[in-house]
Amino acid sequence: MLTISDLHVGYGHGTVLQGVSMIVPRGTVTALMGRNGMGKTTLCRALMGLLAPSAGSIRLDELEIGGRPPHRIAAAGVAYVPQGRGIFERFTVEENLELGVAARGGRVPAHVYRWFPTLAELRRRTAGTLSGGEQQALAIARALVSEPRLLILDEPSEGLQPSLVEEMGSLLLRIVADRHLTVFLVEQNLALVRRIATIAAFLVDGRIAGGAAARDLSPESPVIHRHLGL
C-alpha cells in the first residue's frame, strides 16, 4: 500500500530523516515506534505533504506522492490525525466533521456516527469544550469521514487514560476490518501497538533500526529496551 524508500527530510539546516525505507502492507496496522526527537512526526508530516522531502520517494500503491501538496495527497486517499489532534477548537463538532468532507463534497457518512455515537450527541458542542478522549475520537472520526485508504495516526494515545486507549484500540480494529483500511500508527504506547498492530518498526536518529512482529513485543524485549528505553 505505502512504500517509503530512502526518504530524506529536513528543516532548513540538518536532516531529520536520513534515508527511511519501510513498507506498510494493505489492510494492516503497521506501527512505528521510537523515542521523542527521532523524527516520527517529521515522517508523518512528510507523508501528508506538509514537509517536502529532499530526497527519496513515497509511493501510495503506484502513485508517487512525495513532495505533492497535502490536498492532493488527501485526495489520493490519505487521512491524517496529527499529534495533538489538530481539532478546530472554536468550531462545533459537526463543523469539524464536515471539514473532513468539505474538499470532495457530500455529507458526513452516517456510519461514522455509528462508530462514534458520543459524537452524534455532541454535534452542536464547541469542539474545544470536549474532553481529551472525545477530542481524540473527533480527530479520528474527522479523518475517517473522507473514506481514506490510508490513515496516519500520530501518537493517538497521548494524554488518554488506559481504559480509553483500550477502547480506541478495539474501535480501530473494528474499523480496519470493516473498511479494509490501512493504518500507519506512530505510537510509544506498547500496549496499544501490541493490541492492534501487526508489525512494529523502530525509528532511531532518522533511520529505521529494525522491526518485529508486534505480538512478540513485551516490556522486557531487548528491542524495546534498546529503542524505547522502557
Binding site: 505533504g49 490536498h71 488527501a74 487521512a79 478546530f88 464536515e98 471539514l99 468539505a102 473522507s146
Partner: protein, 286 residues
C-alpha cells in the same frame, strides 16, 4: 421634534458613510485574517472601483450595472494581484506590506497616467429625494445603504453558513490541518483575496457619485478602515462593524461641526485612546 429633524439627515449621512466604510474594512479584515496580509493597496482597489464605474457610466452603461461590473473588474484585478504577488510572499508579512505599498503607488500613478491627476464627478443614477416623515433625503443614499447592508450581511452569511466559509475559517485557524483534510488552501486564499478586492471595488463604485473621484481618494478610506479594525478588533466581524461604526460615525458627524481635518484629529485621538485601553480591540474573539 425640531432637533430630530435637524439631526436625522446627519445621522443618515453618517450611516451611509459607515456602511460604505464597512465594506472596505470587511475586505481588509478577511484578507488580513486569512492570509495574514496587510493589504496597503486596498485603498487603491477602492479607487479603481470608483474609476471603473465612472468609465462604464461614461460609455453609457446604466449605473447599477456599472457598479456590479466595477466590483467584478476589481475582483479580477484582485485575482491577478493574489496570483502574481501575494501568494508568492505568503508567510512573509513584512514583504507583503512593502509589496502592497509599492503596488498602491503603481496603481495610483497608473491611473494618473491613464486619466490624469484631476478629479472628476459622477452623477448619481437618481437625484430624487424621498420624503421620510418631516425630512426629505436623497433617494440614492438610501439605495446605497440598502445595497451596502445587503452585501455586508451576505458576506457575513457566506463566512458563517456556507461550506466555502467553513473551509476559509479552517484555513485561517489551522492552515496545515485544513490542507491535510484535502482543502486547497491556496485556492481558498485566492478566492478570499478576490472577495476582499471586490468588496473594496463595490464600495468605491457606490461612493463615486457622492465624492470627487481622483487618483488619491483611496487613502481617505484606507486610513479610517485601518483605524476601525484597530479599534474594533480583527478577531470577529462584530469587531469590524463596531469599530467602523465608531470611527466612521465620529468622522462623519464631527465633520459637520469641525473642519474635516479637525474631525480626523479628534477621531485619531479617540482611536488611540481606545486602542490604549483595549489593545486587542473592543470586541473580543468569540
Amino acid at each position: 421634534m425640531d432637533a430630530m429633524i435637524a439631526w436625522a439627515p446627519l445621522l443618515l449621512d453618517a450611516l451611509s458613510f459607515v456602511l460604505v466604510l464597512a465594506l472596505v474594512s470587511l475586505g481588509l479584515v478577511v484578507i488580513f485574517g486569512l492570509l495574514g496580509v496587510i493589504n496597503l493597496a486596498h485603498g487603491e482597489l477602492f479607487m479603481l472601483g470608483a474609476y471603473a464605474v465612472a468609465l462604464a457610466v461614461g460609455w453609457g452603461v446604466p449605473f447599477w450595472l456599472a457598479a456590479a461590473l466595477a466590483a467584478l473588474a476589481v475582483g479580477a484585478v484582485g485575482w491577478l494581484i493574489s496570483a502574481v504577488l501575494i501568494e508568492r510572499l505568503a508567510a512573509r508579512p513584512l514583504d507583503t506590506i512593502l509589496a502592497t505599498w509599492g503596488l498602491a503607488i503603481a496603481l495610483r500613478q497608473g491611473v494618473v497616467l491613464a486619466f490624469g491627476p484631476q478629479s472628476r464627478n459622477l452623477d448619481a443614477p437618481t437625484d430624487a429625494d424621498v420624503v421620510l416623515g418631516a425630512i426629505s433625503y436623497p433617494a440614492y443614499r438610501l439605495y446605497l445603504m440598502a445595497l451596502a447592508a445587503t452585501v455586508l450581511i451576505a458576506t457575513l452569511l457566506l463566512f458563517a453558513r456556507t461550506r466555502f466559509g467553513l473551509t476559509a475559517r479552517a484555513a485561517m485557524a489551522r492552515p496545515d490541518m485544513a490542507a491535510a483534510l484535502g482543502i486547497d488552501v491556496r485556492r481558498v486564499w485566492r478566492r478570499t483575496f478576490v472577495l476582499g478586492a471586490a468588496l473594496a471595488g463595490l464600495a468605491g463604485a457606490l461612493i463615486a457619485p457622492l465624492i470627487s473621484v481622483d487618483p488619491y481618494m483611496g487613502l481617505g478610506f484606507l486610513v479610517p478602515a485601518f483605524l476601525s479594525i484597530l479599534v474594533g478588533g480583527s478577531a470577529s466581524f462584530a469587531g469590524v462593524l463596531v469599530g467602523t461604526g465608531i470611527v466612521g460615525g465620529a468622522d462623519s458627524l464631527l465633520g459637520h461641526w469641525l473642519s474635516p481635518l479637525a474631525a480626523q484629529i479628534v477621531v485619531f485621538v479617540v482611536a488611540v485612546l481606545a486602542i490604549r485601553v483595549r489593545p486587542t480591540g473592543l470586541v473580543r474573539a468569540p
